[in-house]
Amino acid sequence: MESSVEAKGYPVRLAVFEGPLDLLLHLIDSQQIDVHDIPIAEITEQFIAFITADDELDLEAASEFIIMAATLMMLKARMLLPRRVAEEAEEEQDLRAELVDRLVEYRRIKQAAEVLRQMEATAGRLFRRGRFEKIACFPDPGSLQGVDVSRLAGILSQVLASVSEQVHQVSGRRISFRLRMVQVLRSLHRAAGPVSFRALLSDASDRIEIVVTFLVVLELVRQGRISFRQDAPFGDIMLYLDGTVVSSSS
């Protein structure tokens, strides 16, 4: 069938559709089919082709599409089977009518959404005063009525007085990345063999130094100047100069 080929030929993601009704409408409209005269068998096949063509479909979204596919298949099956009683034919008509109703209604919603989109864009071009300034929502300033500057100044000095004057001087210890890199390379050269990462940290005095050392190792690996090997999870990481050892997959 021509259109099921279309579904395979074009990498259309189901994510571009708002749901199974949207996809159905797309199939119907793109073939200029009257919504009241849907060729169920063909549409069912196309619908399923679409679902199966998308291998990145997430489960949550998929369930909605699959329910619709099931409904379509049921309709298709009913039509193929000979009807024994008038009741069955009626049931099929009802199912079909319900689906058509939903499609018609959904089409109207899509059209309404389009109208709203245009209104949103139009209204967005009108500016009222204060459109720029009201960035945060502040509590109603009405409670500040009757408060003057001297009163505020008094309150401020009270607040400041209650705050202790202790000032902490926090000086971050600066560790040079470049220097550390030189140190790491030097110890590797001196050892003339593999050095464990743990050994490199023997002279590290605090956490930041460990972090910097680790970053240095990562950088050296990235540059291909050293390679590493870790034989067991949480085991020692052995570092090799010049990438002599293929790093184990981690």
């Binding site: 708002e18 009704l21 619709m68 109208v115 949103e120 009108l126 009222r128 720029f132």
Partner: protein
Amino acid sequence: MTDITLAKIEALLFAATDPLDINTLAQILGISEIEVDGALRRLQEETEREDRGIRLNRVAGGFELVTKPQFAELISRLSRPKNPPPLSQAALETLAIVLYQQPVTKAEIELLRGVRSDAAIDTLIARGLIEELGRKEVPGRPILYGTTDFCLKYLGIQDRDRLPPLPDQQNSRS
């Protein structure tokens, strides 16, 4: 009626943060609603003139002063307007359902769209476009949603009773 009425209305609309309706204006000014209506019409006429940058806008059942749309780019040069990003297709569809069918429950929205709509509903609530109106008296007492006044302003709808007409059903059922 002197033009001072028009000037007063202009001042009130300029100072107000929300659209003012005719009734409020009439009460504040101590004149009849018909007089207010007349003054508003003249104000509208006058602001439509090309040498005016502000115009009278009818929205959410009231009136407000807004800049003319052709100056949107100009104004954005002054400062970045805090326009929120446009609504997604899912949010627009959900908003359309709420706007035209309110009060409406989440289940009713989802039946119409054929997909789960929690995220879209959350977005619309967070952006102040829809709100809870109460509970539907059916098993489970689901929340009923409706649009807010802000929604009317956001979309530029004149009045709750005057929603934009929907395109007619193209082919009615045979």
